[in-house]
Symmetry: C2
Subunit: 335 residues, 2 copies
């Protein structure tokens, strides 16, 4: 099979495309023909060495995928060849990734693609959908009728958080980087959206929701705790899942006097049963048209280095006019 | 009745002692003859104006007390004159405080003093006991068999947290400021204790508990997030309840990759039913000899300014040899 891989961690040029032996499933594994692999910031961190994570060499990056089951191990129950599936959490913790024509998975990390949902949406929605569901419901326990502020609502995570919060009946405010992305956030159901490059954005949000927010989700790699805590209601829950090198100042007094809680998490370290619970919610929302992942760009497997290069620039050097959303790598056709 | 009071917020000299009318209970209130009033950092914050809290003028400071019920309003059930009680949460949110011969309370904020528990312990254990119980069990959900690190185990809060964590079967490590306080922490049941003035304290703690801690409690007004997160196990819960003006740097990456949660709270803003649940645990532990509040010093009502002065220096300018524990003001005898 063909796959994109690295022989050692380093810059984007380390990514090559070459031949690997076709994988066989172990007794408790399935082999999936990958239709689409989606790129995530974590792929850049692992490939570049920014994330201190041991990987086998040569290493095939890639967490997310959609595809079709090709073969199943003799102890696997509930899955058959031909099933349309998606998954996340490959290319991590010693496992090879999804920038390949085939991937071997443990069934605990695969989910059915609902009827009417495309391979594109399933691949693009995976990691961000599970992340949003874990953060909103398992961590922050957002409830219907509560208010949520999404810092960076125009990105892949932010746009998913907005849609998911709206789907459960929460009131959403957001910031984004450009007029176009502000319009997108509004289109997804955010009621108050400000461009965070406008100096008055915080006053405008505070004026719109003077009681403060019950949940505040920071997508930025440079979290602004002063803004989040300032906009928080008493007993607010803050969510944090990015910013590996950030060391912002933390306003201790306002945080504890308001009784805030801050939840940090890396989706791929959540236990499989929590990821599965989140994935089922993602499926339910996608099947009902309430969650449409945002897609930034499309590449072929031979363009894997270009896909990583774009993700790297979006993640490490974002500008107001950067594209946002998921980067998809189309690997095989859907027949 | 006699009371210590201020006519305006400001330095310790603003505290006077004078005569006030004897209070009468409203229909749903009780009047308590105060035996002991305990001083807390919050009293300094309110008296000095550091806490932006509206208070009636003239204002009698003081949150904690132990005493004897003198009279009850005609709608109060379950309490009678002569009952030995303790409470916290006075002198806040518009209520007059406890540096007085009598205090009017709503019954939701008073608790019985168990047989065999002294007025001293009941007054000294109040705010710190409720704080420790809320933080450990309602916020961090410490479980038997888990490990906890207490930064600043020698103080009033820290020594209470150590005892309470031990009482539920947790493994405790702590830091403190002097050899004497290290011995005290060990005596309370902390297994590994280091002087935080020793440069190698963190390595020593990490070596003793290499898996990291499930719960980490910061008592310092200058929280050290790098140390806390570095010593945290995956999915650790951090507790924060002090440091009004602190703005330490926050290590975003290590925090979220470990899946940490940070809980801040101000005990007096917790709902009454949560304070009551915590107070019942405090009572249970005190009645069984498992919680003995640490007492730093004793004063009379006429020495109220000295009591505030000592609390101010312990809170705002602590040194390794500062006394630690609760400051008690003895107001009436126990007959």
């Amino acid at each position: 099979m063909k796959a994109a891989f690295i022989r050692s961690k380093g810059p984007v040029d380390n990514l090559e495309v070459g031949e690997f032996p076709n994988p066989e499933p172990g007794n408790d594994e399935v082999v999936i023909r990958v239709v689409i692999s989606a790129v995530n910031p974590i792929d850049v961190y692992i490939r570049s060495g920014m994330a201190l994570m041991n990987v086998p060499m040569p290493f095939i990056p890639g967490c997310d995928f959609s595809g079709v089951i090709e073969s199943v191990g003799n102890q696997v129950q509930g899955w058959s060849a031909g099933d349309r599936v998606w998954g996340s959490n490959q290319g991590l913790l010693g496992r090879q990734g999804t920038l390949a024509e085939k991937v071997v998975c443990h069934p605990q990390f695969i989910y059915p693609i609902p009827d009417g949902v495309t391979f594109e949406s399933a691949a693009a929605g995976g990691l961000v959908g599970i992340t949003a569901a874990i953060g909103l419901f398992q961590k922050a326990q957002l409830m219907s009728g509560e208010s949520i502020f999404v810092s960076g609502g125009g990105g892949a995570i932010g746009s998913t958080v907005i849609q998911m919060a709206r789907a459960v009946g929460a009131h959403v405010a957001a910031t984004s980087s450009s007029d176009e992305k502000v319009r997108e956030c509004t289109g997804l159901g955010a009621r108050f959206v400000q461009k965070y490059t406008d100096p008055g954005w915080m006053d405008a949000i505070r004026h719109a929701v003077p009681a403060g927010f019950d949940v505040l989700w920071e997508t930025s790699r440079s979290p602004n705790f002063d803004a989040l805590v300032s906009l928080a209601a008493d007993n607010a829950r803050l969510v944090l899942m990015a910013g590996r090198d950030a060391r912002p100042e933390f306003p201790v007094g306002p945080f504890y006097v308001k009784g805030c809680a801050l939840f940090g998490f890396a989706m791929f370290k959540s236990p499989p049963h929590q990821q599965r619970e989140a994935a089922h919610l993602v499926n339910d929302l996608m099947a009902h048209g309430k969650l449409l992942p945002k897609i930034a760009a499309h590449f072929s497997l031979h363009e894997a280095a270009n896909a990583h290069s774009l993700q790297e620039s979006m993640t490490l050097n974002p500008s107001p006019n950067s594209p946002t959303g998921k980067i998809l790598v189309h690997i095989s056709d859907t027949l």
